[in-house]
Symmetry: D2
Subunit: 168 residues, 4 copies
């Protein structure tokens, strides 16, 4: 697998960015952020992305409920009106390293959902000095929605599908 | 990028295995080894693989030297007879997660070199309960030989190329 | 608090030792195992110590059960005959660093219980090249037995108290 | 060593606070930030504290230099005018855990220098929800100024001593 084929995250398409704090202990004996730690940065971006997803969903649900005059039951009737948790597992992950992070300057991680299938969310990541600026790495993950009771894949809930489309 | 395409590490071809100690702190809030930690396990395997590479090279060099009677200069004339360090950077990495590691049982990480080009070593990994047994994850990395002074890619030294071929 | 006062772990009294694998990513930009990682090494030692505690308890319980001829109920009547989990939290921890760990050689961590009170187990640790050999660090922790349902301290169960006394 | 004696960091005396990002992977299988990770939080606070120390020193030095009209050599003549690095090793560390951090909310780490001796800086830490607010943990470290060439202790440079006194 060549470097180019590992992933093709399109940084220009990413609109969701959050800062990630580089820790002194993230640096390894070469004085660079260790390769495995980039997946932790992706994870921090993903956690923030899903938190935003739930927040936007909740706002939208409240708005819908308010606009449906006199009806508070409309809100609770919506699938996932309370933005319930979205349990998933990471099925695959990849990173293409562009240049080393050699110090403790904060970095930004960008996240986008690139594709949704029945139970799977495919995401793309970029680690940059500033949103869309100096590029340290790009990455991808495939996460699978699961039933927490059984650990088996299950269809993405409708609320998550809608919220993902709105954030894309 | 679908899960299947992330990598196609062929576990049956892996002959080099080392144990890796799962740490309590590797488990995340789901009670499973965190996804980023698998790249640390790959790294532990890679470090052991390169140590073995250097050890085998040294043995081979010594053997050559001894067989060339009366000639100690033969040894030092070999490229990399002292198995010098092999500085490289990780250019890309991927992992396909098969099943979660849910406890502290030791795991085995398997490593093989799948392809060598001018400056690049492509490697495949597997994390299993036993060598070739119950499979937790497979992975790949692409590592690029660099000149430590400049950080620029440079051709793999001849000793490393030979030693890699012998270990494949 | 001076270095000397941080702890006074008595390495010569430690009889329980387990190997801990130093990881490449444990090294920080100084090329030494990061100071926080020593607490992870202590934790690995503690986990092994408690596993041993439960194993010895189970053996002892089985032995008792077997010796009480014809009575399988004796075993289940013992407090903690099945070596149930021993939920606890770490209330305090300390480490005195003696010399840096500068490479990937395996190290040994030694653990002993230095004092038991109503709900608290005080432990001492040493990180050495070999059991009782070249000393990298000593440490202490205070762990408090808790009721997992409430998170409140509760008396150490009798089986744990007995097993700790047997291991001291 | 009882919990009370581990350290006596006086949170009310701490005036330097920086945010620390709790990572999903900091949580262990109990769903709480792992005990070893608190030392990483202390480290992040310490790194920021020393960066501030150097920044304040540089400002002070520049001010001095500017006031010495026409003399740029005055600046470089000052001990540590360029706020050189302050190499040190951690000689000891302790943490007293007050309550678990059970989620991803950002936390604040507070740092103060509690005592300076010939070559040693003793520091106190607090991890809180807000500066001086809900307390998760307190801690201490003892760091020793070293000669990077030899690794041996050496007297704190005058600039650091002055800057520490100004920040206390």
């Amino acid at each position: 697998m060549s470097r180019e084929k590992v992933n093709s995250a399109d940084v220009a398409l990413i609109r969701f960015w959050v800062p990630v704090e580089v820790r002194y202990s993230d640096l390894d004996a070469q004085g660079h952020v260790n390769n495995a730690t980039f997946f932790t940065y992706f994870e921090q971006g993903r956690v923030a992305f899903f938190a935003e997803l739930r927040a936007r969903h909740s706002e939208h649900s409240e708005h819908t409920a308010i606009s449906e005059e006199g009806s508070t039951s409309a809100q609770s009737a919506l699938p996932g009106a309370d933005a319930p948790d979205l349990p998933f597992v990471v099925a695959s992950a990849s990173c293409a390293y562009r240049r080393p992070i050699a110090g403790l300057a904060p970095v930004m991680v960008g996240v986008r959902c690139s594709r949704i299938t029945h139970a799977t969310i495919e995401m793309e990541y970029a680690v940059c000095a500033t949103p869309g600026g100096l590029l340290y790495a790009t990455g991808t993950t495939s996460t699978v929605s699961i039933d927490p009771a059984t650990g088996r894949p299950r269809a993405l809930p409708a609320w998550a599908r809608l919220a993902l489309e709105r954030m894309s």
